[in-house]
Point group: C3
Chain length 152, copies 3
């Protein structure tokens, strides 16, 4: 099954990649490695999840926010590579959670991204990960995510 078929099965439509909010680009490829810029939980051109997880947002919303960041990362990657079927491995996932004071369940929030990558890519989606609590995130996003992927 192609990745686009898998996404259809999951009822996911990749959006048109958002233009970067500055003098940078969405993806740089080097040595068959795709470096994707930090992604925010944007849907339909605006932020869907804002504020601090643990006070303004629940863990469940944080997980949805993390998943939405991944969808935006995949949209950028798809636009760069032409097809997500070229992806041979998700190498690294960095999950930054806009965290309320005392909130320490960043790993649970990050699972919203990790589980989705596994659903989309199967074993190729098994990645290394770091999850952290950020003091503040751009535009008050609830989560920000960076993905590095190998492709052929």
């Amino acid at each position: 099954m192609s990745i686009s078929d898998t996404l259809a099965t999951l009822s996911i439509t990749l959006p048109t990649p958002a233009a970067p909010a500055g003098a940078y680009i969405p993806v740089v490829t080097y040595n068959n490695c795709a470096y994707i810029s930090g992604q925010l939980p944007i849907e339909g051109g605006k932020l869907k999840y804002t504020g601090k997880v643990g006070s303004e947002q629940s863990i469940e919303n944080g997980q949805q926010s993390a998943k939405l960041c991944v969808i935006n990362a995949l949209a950028a990657l798809n636009a760069e590579l032409g097809s997500l079927d070229s992806v041979t491995r998700i190498i690294k996932l960095e999950v930054y959670v806009n965290s309320a004071a005392g909130f320490t369940d960043q790993a649970q929030v990050a699972n919203g991204a990790s589980n989705f990558l596994k659903e989309v890519f199967g074993d190729k989606g098994l990645h290394t990960r770091v999850a952290l609590g950020a003091a503040e995130l751009p535009l008050n996003a609830a989560t920000e995510i960076v993905i590095t992927a190998a492709y052929k």
Copy 2:
């Protein structure tokens, strides 16, 4: 001298790698580069150092916490590669310090990790580094560490 001999000399026993706390894996290898997931200061299955460095933990404890994170990273790397003698270079060390308000000695805390890598790997352990203060860390760990290493 092999790395395992060096570790023995330093009285370090590598633990059995902890299972990841989510749908990710401890190490991904690509292009002879090993990407290791974020490591916490876990010993004997539980967190040894928790809370904010600069208030709940001293700099010295923060350094021990950073060293313990490195030990766990090396355990994961050893399990993946079969032997740490395959490591040709520690490329990058990322040190996240759970920081009390106003605590700015993250570099001193990170030295607990950097010095240990030098002890274990000699010149192959000379790495680039970034040290940051995190607002919160998973499970309230005092430090979290990410290592990227080259191997043959």
Copy 3:
């Protein structure tokens, strides 16, 4: 035009790279990729921009701080490679902004670094980026920056 000519046109003199504040080194190269250690806004041997952007420092100062971090990164890279003309691509820019509570314009601060990279390297300076708010940074620096670059 060589990069050193471009820097001269921009009235930029690369400083002597600062010695790392710990048991690490400024640059590691691997697979024609240069990994540069986290850089602080140091000028003439001391920090020029300290404190939190959004309260103690303006966005404009934060942008200058980010640019200064990049200058220090380029100084380290130049010392390692012998010439910045070897750089074929700026791959990744990580911008950590020491952020006041509620400050969410990290992307604007990061543009101080991104725009400068574009001025110096042209299209080779078009990079991927992540911008984050840090709770605290080493020595109370206003910004800290990590750059990864490809070279030939």
